[in-house]
Subunit: 325 residues, 3 copies
């Protein structure tokens, strides 16, 4: 088994296509571990993994915590409102403190883009970005790619629509890079107020000498593009952002950009729906759409633990561990 080309995973752009392949392939045996009665490998025994979450997030933190514990690491939850950051401690100081405690890996979620980078400059530990501001959320993209590949066999050539608040979504930032790196075609679907000025900047650029990467296009009319999509990726509407009025009403948004029974019928027979969760039922998806077999949200969650185990293993574990051989 190979090794990653990077020490940290802050952004999908840290990962080469080979790296992405390696993570996804490594996730499969961990997914099998997670289906066993005894979901435990000794891989990271004696290593200290810190979940440094400064934004409310039970799902993602729990996914990382379960991943770390199933690998036998010592998992520490650090942060929250009770943390030193409330006393005005800087990120630099926190990084140096955790480093002095000989932590091996820090997973950070922070409302400011670039926070994970500050950690890497101030500690020896490996860093995984668990979501930073509107910037990146690479493990979400990796689990999404895993889920797509599991369903379709490959990502290359698929047409993927990413629907919703493109402009502010860190999920979208990571996902579009990953999709284009693996050769999917992406169409970003949103009200004009939520579309980026230059969508191509979200894509993974072509390697020099290689053919142009798959294009990223935009649309403000979901119904126009829906019938051709293999994957309909619905971004979550951040309710806390509604007050900025990027669109007239939730009701209008749901009518124009939500998946409902009519749109389900307009999709290709084998097309799938994805969502980073949790769904606002009745907004991004009606309950009809949530409950259909097309909706792979729970496959995504399931892949999430395995992909995070794979990433921790590849960053921290020995190459010749052979835990799952």
């Amino acid at each position: 088994m190979g090794a990653l080309s990077c020490r940290h995973v802050l952004s999908m752009s840290d990962l080469s296509v080979d790296d992405i392949d390696l993570v996804l392939e490594t996730a499969t045996p961990f997914k099998e571990v997670n289906e066993r009665a005894i979901k435990k490998t000794p891989t990271l025994r004696g290593l200290t993994v810190v979940n440094f979450f400064l934004e409310a997030s039970t799902r993602t933190r729990t996914s990382f915590e379960i991943a770390a514990k199933r690998l036998s690491a010592d998992a520490i939850n650090f942060g929250g409102s009770a943390s030193a950051t409330a006393k005005g401690e800087s990120l630099v100081d926190t990084a140096q403190t955790l480093d002095a405690m000989n932590c091996d890996l820090v997973v950070i979620r922070h409302r400011y883009a670039g926070s994970p980078f500050i950690l890497t400059q101030n500690m020896r530990a490996h860093v995984i970005n668990g979501g930073d501001g509107k910037h990146q959320h690479p493990t979400q993209a990796l689990l999404d790619l895993y889920t797509i590949r599991e369903r379709f066999g490959a990502v290359k050539g698929l047409r993927v629509g990413v629907v919703g608040d493109i402009a502010h979504s860190r999920v979208c930032g990571s996902l579009v890079w990953g999709l284009t790196a693996l050769g999917a075609q992406v169409v970003l679907v949103a009200p004009p107020t939520l579309l980026p000025a230059c969508p191509k900047l979200l894509a993974c650029p072509a390697t020099p000498g290689e053919p142009e990467t798959a294009p990223v296009t935009v649309s403000s009319r979901l119904d126009d593009v829906l019938p051709e999509l293999d994957v309909v990726y619905m971004l979550r509407i951040q309710m806390e952002r509604i007050e900025q009025a990027p669109f007239p009403s939730l009701r209008e948004y749901a009518q124009l950009f939500g998946i409902n029974r009519r749109r389900l019928a307009a999709m290709k027979p084998e097309a799938i729906i994805m969502h980073p969760g949790p769904v606002n039922r009745g907004v991004e998806l009606t309950s009809d759409a949530v409950d259909t077999a097309r909706n792979l949200l729970l496959y995504q969650v399931n892949a999430g633990v395995a992909v995070r185990m794979a990433l921790m293993y590849l960053l921290l574990g020995g190459e010749d561990d052979g835990f799952a051989s």
Copy 2:
């Protein structure tokens, strides 16, 4: 060793008399484990136990967390104010998410009655109700029954007074069922405003063909019934409910329904006091009463860890583990 007849424990009515006996018997070797220097069994190694607590409760959560860890499970605390529920995520979504992460057991505490049932309908994991609204708190009843049986040898035939806010107490709901299932006679003692309209509904009904179960009666005069009680079970006054003024004052309540030095003297010599904790000193019990050897509160707490270990073991563990043989 046998197996429980149920997959989940949401209510005492999920448990047959044989189930209750099995839990109580299984708790005894775990109680011995807890007295050892090395309080650890490998029973649930590699299993994931989630404490999903949405109401403030350090005692009960800690009891479950210690129980899970002493059984070598991976214990995850999920919930609290930082949780996705604050983002409006539904219980259904949470259940499905935890299920997709391959959790094996969820202990839930929630302010709405019936919440644990929603989990069972949306996940494969086993569910234990850690207290839901004013409905049930079955592990409290099990540890209470353990404590009573440890002291008296059996529950059958004992006269138990349950004193306090009967109408709103989930502890009472579970306890009266358990007591009557095992053949105790119960008298509910409270101000008329806090007595249920139909006390018999709290009791475990007789199996068809069997003789009538022990009666549940009511009284609003503690002094009338106290001299005949073997067990005086004092429910906690929820201070947050006082504003609804179910009785004129705490002082009056304490005088009419609290255990003080005078009432201690009126009790049978071998009668015991129980309380789910934490005690409001000077309300349910004066400090005299708290500090007397009659007060078995700490035996209850001690039994709590063992009973929860037993329940987790019976729900999740192999039948032929023989950990404590």
Copy 3:
């Protein structure tokens, strides 16, 4: 290897000079464990360590939690705003409850001086004071002594300046006792409003028949004493206390009592700076001073985990474990 003369560590005065030596010597092999890839010893397997923190403190709690987990103990975080204390539960009840759950060690941080003592009177578990009000913070002093000894080989004969809010500092209370017990000379440097009326009371008294311990003197002029100091220990200014106006302004404080480039130049060549962290940059230390090699803050943090492992091991572990031999 010997044993400590005390069951609990509430105050530096609980520890004899031999005890202090034993803790510091025991910490060295644990420091080596912490530098290994696999930072784990089976020493406290099956023991339950409770972090009972009722004041916001991520650093200290995390240090104790990591220490407990690296020793293989079951570590439980108990407390915070969600705790039973919010329901009005008394410290006595909490102690008795944790005791009934067979906890082996409780680390307590509490805003009231003397709280750890209340625990010791109500439980069988060992108690470590993780900081109580303005009273004591003995593990901080132990890690400070470790750091000083590591740098200078011994504490005896060193001149140590402790600078800042002497009057309200629990760090200072523990440190001065420890320094004088090991034979350092201490000068307390602060605005007159923050100096104690009777500084000698902070010192460890001489053993009867032994020569007088090292003196504790005071000064309100840092520049006068700085050139002779081997250790400049900067106490943290508690921003929450500024409103009580113990000095005219932060700016004036920094000018009179902060370490800046000029004062760095005035220090002895081999003199070191210490700080309990987190630093208020620009107040106690300018960024120049933080980033200089003289500043041993991170060595202190690093020693902290090892010293806490040593203390837990000595309080709880077998004497003949030989984990690191």
